[in-house]
């Protein structure tokens, strides 16, 4: 299981806003797929996954604040559950 999270980038990033989801729970995703778009204090960023599998539940709703480093969803491998 891969945790997809909002990375802390730069020197002093505290929060990001989750702008929109690009994948839905239960979707089959491939490594490198864009899962969500976030906005930091400097830019918008694509959040991608590193593994292939089934997307887990959305842990944040669009337009909500996500603390840097927090997991927003997971990619489940075969037979895995949240």
């Amino acid at each position: 299981m891969e945790e997809v999270f909002v990375p802390a980038v730069g020197m002093a990033m505290d929060n990001a806003v989750l702008l929109e989801w690009q994948k839905e729970p239960g979707d089959q995703v491939n490594a490198g797929d864009v899962i969500a778009i976030i906005e930091t204090d400097k830019t918008t960023m694509e959040i991608t996954c590193e593994t292939s599998g089934t997307l887990g539940r959305h842990r944040y709703t669009p337009n909500s604040e996500v603390p840097a480093g927090n997991t927003i969803t997971v990619v489940l491998g075969a037979g895995e559950s949240e």
Binding site: P7, A8, V9, G10, M11, A12, M13, G69
Partner: protein
């Protein structure tokens, strides 16, 4: 140097694996928001740090740069103390005040990293001046990146070292990129060692991915300094595998270039293959070493996680030398 050559080489390999494992681990924690103020990953540059330190005496002085984890660990600081400092915890080497860019251990000759490009050269040159004044038998090494070799104060310090014949080594940890700028685009004449020759000191461009070559040139430079023959400039060509800072989405170099350095010139791959071929370490022993180091670094993370942040009541401590009187 250890009396037993095989043990010594095994230690060089282990030190490089410790640094790589530390950096790979710390990088992930940085992305998770655990590292205050971010970090600069030195993965790929291990042979420069370990090669230099293996040629120094513990009492020799170093001053380093914003990218300093590899220098600091190779100089002998326990990785758990480094990790605690990255986490800004009170058990870190700077009591959690400095984080990644202010790793120092003055009692053991590490005059620290800093956030000013090229400043380590001036700090180490000053230390070398003190060493000469006091008549001590030791040397000072100033680390600097390729970007720092295009700043004025760096060459001012080198000139001072030359005219005063100081026991000083300017060590260019040349990873070829100043943040996102490739060295050839911004370095007049393109050859840092030739610049050094112009300033009148022996200057060498060497393979920074070969730990024994770095050791050999550093040892010769140290011997020259101790004989009173003045400073040396060593331009060690190396490469960083990650971005300038954690989480960087760099578009300024190709994946092929990064893969070429990783796959064909990696300092740990090269040295481990050499030691396996020479029968100094077996493949199984190398895997066991990596497992053991991973456990050590995981324990360092655990130590950092469990350590307390500095107490607010200590906020005025270490602001001055104490001569101005205690504040509360």
């Amino acid at each position: 140097m250890m009396s037993n050559d095989k043990d010594w080489k095994r230690k060089l390999l282990r030190d490089m694996v410790v640094i790589r494992t530390f950096e790979e681990t710390a990088d992930k924690l940085t992305l998770r928001g655990k590292v205050a103020g971010g970090m600069h990953n030195s993965s790929g540059q291990e042979a420069v740090a370990v090669g230099v330190m293996s040629a120094l005496d513990p009492k020799d002085v170093i001053a380093t740069t914003h990218r300093s984890h590899h220098h600091t660990i190779a100089k002998g600081m326990d990785p758990k103390i480094v990790m605690a400092e990255l986490f800004a915890k009170s058990t870190g080497c700077s009591k959690g005040r400095g984080a990644s860019m202010h790793l120092a251990d003055v009692d053991n000759g590490n005059f620290g990293g800093n956030g000013i490009v090229g400043a380590g050269v001036g700090i180490a040159m000053g230390a070398a001046m003190g060493i000469k004044q006091l008549g001590h038998k030791k040397v000072a090494v100033g680390f600097v990146g390729d970007g720092g070799m295009n700043t004025g104060r760096t060459w001012e310090a080198i000139n001072m070292a030359v005219i005063n014949k100081l026991p000083f080594i300017c060590l260019v940890d040349n990873n070829q990129y100043a943040v996102e700028t490739f060295i050839d685009r911004v370095t007049g004449g393109r050859d840092i060692a030739k610049r050094g020759e112009g300033f009148g000191l022996p200057s060498f461009t060497i393979d920074g991915q070969d730990v024994l070559e770095v050791h050999r040139y550093t040892k010769e430079a140290r011997d020259r300094a101790l004989r009173g023959e003045g400073p040396t400039l060593i331009n060690a060509l190396t490469y960083r595998y990650y971005g300038h800072n954690g989480g960087e989405k760099g578009q300024y170099r190709t994946q092929e270039e990064i893969a070429d350095w990783r796959n064909n010139r990696d300092p740990i791959d090269r040295f481990s293959a050499q030691l396996i071929q020479e029968g100094i370490i077996s493949q199984d022993e190398f895997i066991a070493l990596q497992t053991e180091v991973t456990a050590q670094i995981n324990a360092a993370v655990e130590f950092a996680e469990q350590s307390p942040y500095p107490d607010l009541s200590t906020i005025y401590e270490d602001v001055d030398s104490g001569l101005l009187g205690a504040r509360s």
